[in-house]
């Protein structure tokens, strides 16, 4: 049984300007010890997917329209405040993009790292202090004992992110959700933080969901990748397979639009148009309007995420379904 099993998750935002289908029928799972990459452009629903499970979305305007998210016999979507509080920061932790806003500027670093332990009553104050120091040390902060008395402003961006990671991992969670953890950092510091996260993941044996827009980060760290676009998962596959043989036109376009360090010169393949702002369309493939190989029926066909010949490789492209002899491009 997977550690986290999400089925048919739908999160819609009911705004004055109408309904935004931010997440629209997303199903995936996360196995123990696995690192899942979630890649997509801004507004594709990658963050909303995970925020909704942890009860971090303002509701309203957000509303969970359907779905289950099973974590150890608990459905996170219906568990309610108290049950979620018992899970958040204890079994499932998060690391956010901006380490400055993730830390309380008025609280000493040490106190913030001790907080998950004390809030969940996992140990007494002295033990919490000892564990927090050990965790900060493991996260690469030297002289952790002393630095615990510092306030966040005294830390550099990279150090702050190390503190945030220590805070997320001090309770030894089963799952770490990292939402663009290195986007605000310089590349040399990014390399340090990614190496640190991979090391701690292996030491603690936890599962990790890494949300990012950077395919390079995915390539180095993740076992499996899901590609999101306009509130849907368009493709999911083991990392090597996805990069070697992308089976959705959007994934292919995304990979080709990336200027590589290795080669230069030729014009980049730009994807025409813009990502939809209203989330998933009511009918059809969300990428169809920008897709260069779209069939007429793509505009209104049902495009479920289906396994191809390699079972671990799922795509929502009906062209690929037909080529692989699965499904039939059912009309709605």
């Amino acid at each position: 049984m997977p550690l986290l099993d999400v089925k048919d998750l739908r999160v819609w935002f009911h705004t004055r300007d109408g309904i935004v289908r931010a997440v629209d029928g997303v199903s995936f799972s996360l196995e123990r010890g696995e690192t899942l990459g979630v890649v997509g452009e801004s507004g594709c629903g990658k963050s909303v997917t995970f925020y909704s499970m942890l009860g971090l979305l303002p509701m309203p305007p957000a509303k969970i329209e359907s779905g289950t998210a099973m974590f150890k016999d608990v459905d996170l979507l219906t568990a309610g405040g108290a049950a979620l509080r018992a899970i958040r920061g204890r079994h499932i932790s998060m690391v956010f993009q901006d380490p400055m806003t993730a830390l309380n500027p008025y609280m000493r670093i040490g106190k913030q790292v001790m907080e998950p332990l004390l809030a969940h009553g996992l140990c007494n104050r002295n033990e919490a202090r000892r564990r927090a120091a050990a965790m900060l040390e493991a996260a690469g902060i030297q002289d952790a004992q002393e630095r615990m008395n510092a306030y966040p402003h005294a830390f550099s961006g990279g150090m702050r992110q190390r503190a945030v990671i220590a805070m997320a991992l001090v309770s030894q969670p089963d799952i770490l959700i990292a939402d663009e953890p290195t986007t605000a950092l310089d590349v040399t510091v990014q390399a340090q933080i990614l190496a640190l996260m991979a090391k701690l993941r292996d030491e603690l044996g936890m599962a990790m969901a890494l949300i990012t827009h950077d395919l390079g980060v995915i390539a180095g760290v993740c076992d499996r990748v899901m590609v999101m676009y306009a509130g849907r998962i368009l493709e999911e596959a083991p990392t090597a397979l996805l990069f070697r043989r992308p089976r959705h036109p959007y994934t292919r376009a995304l990979l080709e639009a990336l200027p590589g360090i290795q080669e230069a010169g030729k014009s980049l393949r730009a994807i025409p148009g813009l990502p939809p702002e209203q989330g998933a369309p009511e009918r059809g493939c969300p990428f169809a309007p920008r897709c260069d190989v779209a069939l007429p029926e793509c505009a209104d066909a049902v495009c479920p995420l289906m396994s191809l010949d390699e079972l671990a490789h799922r795509t929502a492209c009906i062209r690929e379904h037909r080529a692989a002899g699965v499904g039939g491009g059912v009309r709605s």
Partner: protein, 332 residues
């Protein structure tokens, strides 16, 4: 390439320091310290060149850009445009030269006036500098919109009605309106999604060719710079540490910092990314207020020698086309 007697842009020993106000700012005549944002940078661009400037945040690349368009006043050094030094210009004289040097900023949300329509934004520089009005003005605006791929029906819309990519097109149209000889683009695609980023890069490359402009392209994204620039300058803490043709600098970086930077960038290909040797970079970029003695990279340099903390290395020829500021790089 037709070589004029003067290169289009010649920056010599440019220094831009910002005073830091200490606690005794009111008492003291002289500031307590300086942020040495740009410290002794020399750079030449011939007509039609595309120059890339890369480096991490705080390396001074944006300050360099802003000094070249004279949004900052240089502390020392010269900036010659077609043989005329603009570093010390002011008032009318400077205003006359401004049309020749235009800039595109990183954040198209901040660089456009929210109360001006697209028409007004693009028309403004033409009205002010080219003194056009009426039909001539509007046909010029429509021609520019067409050049940057904005449909003419958008002409009465306001910036908030556009996506980031489209706003950047408006900013580009505005910059081109004065037919500049030199276009300085400071992180023009960093705020954009990958799929839109490629559109804007291709657009800039095409326009540069069409108008035979010289372009200074500043970015922290080495992939983007590799793609568009022919010559690159690598900056670290206000200094240039390496320069040469983009292909050579990226394929065979000579300066230890360039090597560190390139190794830190994850390659969006799992096989390559996982098989290459990863050296996790040391430390974080130090503050430009109190830069390290000697070579500014020495505290983080994997190849540092004892003398590196004493001697400040100058940029010296490595071979026919490259210059490196490290005495331990083998020279031909």
């Amino acid at each position: 390439m037709n070589r004029h007697p003067h290169p289009l842009l010649h920056v010599e020993n440019l220094r831009v320091w910002f005073p830091v106000k200490g606690r005794l700012a009111l008492v003291r005549r002289v500031p307590a310290a300086y942020v040495q944002a740009v410290d002794g940078v020399s750079l030449t661009a011939h007509s039609g060149d595309i120059i890339g400037v890369v480096g991490e945040s705080g390396c001074g690349k944006s300050t360099l850009a802003r000094a070249i368009v004279r949004l900052e006043t240089p502390t020392a050094g010269s900036i010659s445009v077609s043989g005329r030094d603009i570093a010390a210009m002011s008032g009318k004289e400077l205003r006359r030269i401004r049309p020749l040097i235009q800039m595109i900023f990183q954040d198209p949300y901040a660089s456009l006036n929210p109360r001006m329509t697209v028409f007004d934004a693009v028309a403004e520089p033409i009205r002010v500098h080219r003194r056009m009005t009426g039909r001539a003005l509007s046909s010029e605006v429509f021609a520019l919109m067409d050049k940057v791929g904005l449909a003419s029906r958008f002409v009465r819309k306001y910036p908030h009605e556009f996506s980031g990519g489209q706003r950047q097109r408006i900013a580009i149209a505005r910059a081109l309106a004065l037919q500049p000889q030199l276009l300085v683009a400071d992180e023009p695609v960093s705020a954009l999604d990958v799929s839109v980023q490629a559109q804007i890069i291709n657009l800039l490359a095409a326009l540069q060719q069409e108008f035979d402009m010289t372009m200074i392209f500043i970015s922290h994204d080495l992939g983007v710079v590799r793609h568009i620039a022919r010559r690159v300058f690598v900056m670290y803490l206000g200094r240039i540490v390496e320069t040469g043709p983009a292909a050579e600098v990226f394929d065979a970086p000579a300066h230890p910092y360039t090597q560190t930077l390139l190794q830190a960038i994850p390659i969006p290909d799992p096989e390559q990314e996982r098989s290459r040797v990863h050296v996790v970079p040391k430390g974080e970029p130090p503050s430009p207020i109190n830069p390290p003695s000697g070579c500014r990279f020495h505290p983080r340099c994997p190849k540092a020698q004892p003398s590196c903390s004493l001697n400040d290395p100058a940029l010296e020829r490595l071979d026919e086309v490259r210059e490196v500021a490290c005495p331990f790089v083998r020279r031909v």
